[in-house]
Symmetry: C2
Amino acid sequence: MKLSDRKKKILQIVVDDYISTAQPVSSKSITDKHMKDVSSATVRSELAQLEELGFLDKQHTSSGRVPSAEAYKLYANELMKKSKLSSKELAVIKNTFLNEVNNLEAVVKNTVKVISELTDYTSLGFAKHDEEEKVQKVNLFRYKENQALLLIVTENTLIKDKFITIPKEMADEQLEVANNLVNRLFVGKDFAEILSYADSFLEEFNDYRDIFTGVIKAIESYLNNDNAEVVLEGEEKILNSPEYEDANKIKNFLSVVNSKDKVASLLAENSSNIEINIKIGGDNEESIKECSLVTASYKAGGVNLGTYGVIGPLRMDYKKVVSVLESVGKVLEDMLKDK
Amino acid sequence: MKLSDRKKKILQIVVDDYISTAQPVSSKSITDKHMKDVSSATVRSELAQLEELGFLDKQHTSSGRVPSAEAYKLYANELMKKSKLSSKELAVIKNTFLNEVNNLEAVVKNTVKVISELTDYTSLGFAKHDEEEKVQKVNLFRYKENQALLLIVTENTLIKDKFITIPKEMADEQLEVANNLVNRLFVGKDFAEILSYADSFLEEFNDYRDIFTGVIKAIESYLNNDNAEVVLEGEEKILNSPEYEDANKIKNFLSVVNSKDKVASLLAENSSNIEINIKIGGDNEESIKECSLVTASYKAGGVNLGTYGVIGPLRMDYKKVVSVLESVGKVLEDMLKDK
DNA sequence: TGTTAGCAGTTAAACGTAAAGAGTGCTAAC
DNA sequence: GTTAGCACTCTTTACGTTTAACTGCTAACA
C-alpha cells in the first residue's frame, strides 16, 4: 500500500521529533508544532492507521507514538531531508586531513576520529586489503636464526608485519637468492594472480618451498584481513543515548564494538560500491539487532581508502550521520586528487 | 595509634564482606558469620571506634558500615590473606603462553587477556621500551622516492614501524653506503649510548645528516613510547560493579581507559621494581580517583616484559587480583627460563 | 573494666492509595 | 473528511503507613 502524502509528512514529523527528543510523540504536539491546519483528532486517526500499517508503535494504550524499525527505514531512504554541514564543521574535516594523507593508517585513524567528533556517535573504520594491488618489490630480511621478516611493497601499501619461518641451515646468501627469485616471479603481478600461480611455484621451485609457502601464507593472511587495522572511536558515546541505560545492553554493545574481528566483519560486509549503506535494527546480524549501522566506503584516485561507519541506537540522527559521511568522503577525494 | 588485633580482625571481616557482597556490613552479620564468641553489641562499639579512626563510613545513621579508602589500603597491605589459584586457573595461565613466547607483542596481548579473564576486571598492559637494548643490526630499506623504512634489530625487539625521510636524489647505492656506516657505528651499542653520541655523529658525517637525524629521531620516538603497544581487555567488565550504574561514571571510566596515552602514562608511572603496586582511590591521579589500580612489572631472563594492571572499583577483590598477577608473573618467568 | 541484653531512635525500602496529567479512541455532528 | 468533546487508560508523582534492619546508649553483670 502506498502512503498518502499526509501520512508521509506525519511519519516524518514523528521520526524527526522522536530522534531529537527521545520522547513518544503525541497527536497534539504534531498539530501544535507542525500542522496547525488540521486538528489533533485528524492526526490521531492517521496515526492509528500508520500504526496499523506497522510504522508506529505505542508503549501503552494512552501513550504517544514511537517509530518502528520500518519507519526508520522509510525515513532514511525517502523521507528525511539531508542537512548541509556548517562551514565550521567542514573546516573541521578539512583540518583533519591537512597532514599525512600519504599514510593510509593515519588516514583511517583521522577519518574515524572526525566522524565520531562530528556525529557524536561511536564510529568505526578499517581499510580492507585489496587483492588487486600489484607487487612492486619483495624483501626478505633475516631476523632470527629461523625467522625472516617479509616486506612487500605495492603502490599503495607496505606489508611489514609478516614473519616467515625459514630453515635454520639456510645461509644468508641462499636467502638472497630466494629473495631475488621471489622478486623475479612476483613483481608486476597482483596478489590474486600470485595466489592463482601458488601451486605451480611450489612445485617448480621445490628447493625454496619453505620460502614460497611462507610468502603465500603471508599474502593470504593479509588479504584475509587478519591483522587489519580496525579503528574505533568514542565507544563511550553510546551512553549519550537514554535507551542505553541498562548495564547489559551497554556491556553487549561494548563487547561487540571492542571485538576487532566483529567490527572488521561488520564493515567488510557493508563495503560496497553504493555510497552510503544504512542498516537498521533487524537488518543487522543478531548481536547488534538493536543498533543501526551507517557505513560508507571511500575511494580516491583509484585507491581504496577503507570502509567507515557509525554505530548507534535505532533512534539515530540519520540526517546528520549521512551528511557527515558524505562530506568526509568528498573532502578526502578532493584532498587526494590534488596530490 | 595501633589497632588491636580484634579491631584488625573486624576490619578485615568488614572489607572481605563488603568486597564480596557490595552491601554495608552490620554488627550482627559479623558476629553471626565470623565472631560467635562475642555479642553484636561488642562489635558495635568496636565499629564505632573504627569509624572514629577513619576506617569505616556509614551511609546513614542506621546503616551498616562500609570501608573507607584507608581501610582498603590497610587491608591490601596488611590484612588480606592471599589466596592460591586453583589448579584449573593455573592451567589457564599456562595454556595462554604455550605458543608465541618469542613474540613480545603476542606476550603482551595474551597476558592482558588472561589477567582480565581470571580477575573479571578491566586489564591493561604495555611493554615499555628499554634504552639498554643493544643494537644487533640496522637496515634501511628504500620505500618511496624520498622515504626509507628503518628496521632496527636488538636481542629482544624489532623496531619496524619507523619511516625516515631521505633526499630524493640519493641513489640506492648511497643509501647502502649510509646503511653500512650506520651499522658500523651503531651495532653493539645500546640506545642510550647511541643517543649520547648523536651530536658527534651528526657533525662528523655531515653528508648523511638526513639519515642520522632520521635514525636518531626514530630511536628517540621509540624510547619515548610514542607508538607503544598499549593493550586493553574487558573494558566492559567495569559494568559488573554495581557502583558503576551512573552513565557519567561509566563514560568517564571508558574515556580514560580508551585513551592510549593515558593508559601508557598510568602504567609507566607504576612500573617499578616492586613486585606489585597497589594504588587506591585518591592515590591515583584525578581522572581515576574513584578507581583502584593494581599493577605488576614482569621480567624474565633479563628481558623486560612490560607492565600490566587491573583497574576497577575501590571495592576490588584485591586478594584475587594480587594472586592472579603474581601467578602470571611466575608462569611467565618459568616459561622463559626454559627457552 | 570489658561485655552484654535490651530498648529507643533512625532510616530506607516496600506498599497501598489517591490524584493529576497526558494521551488515545470513539462518536455524533458539521 | 474533519472535528469537538468525552470516556477511558495508563503513567507518574506524591504521600502516608508499615516493616525491617540497623545503630547508639544505658544499665546490669562477670
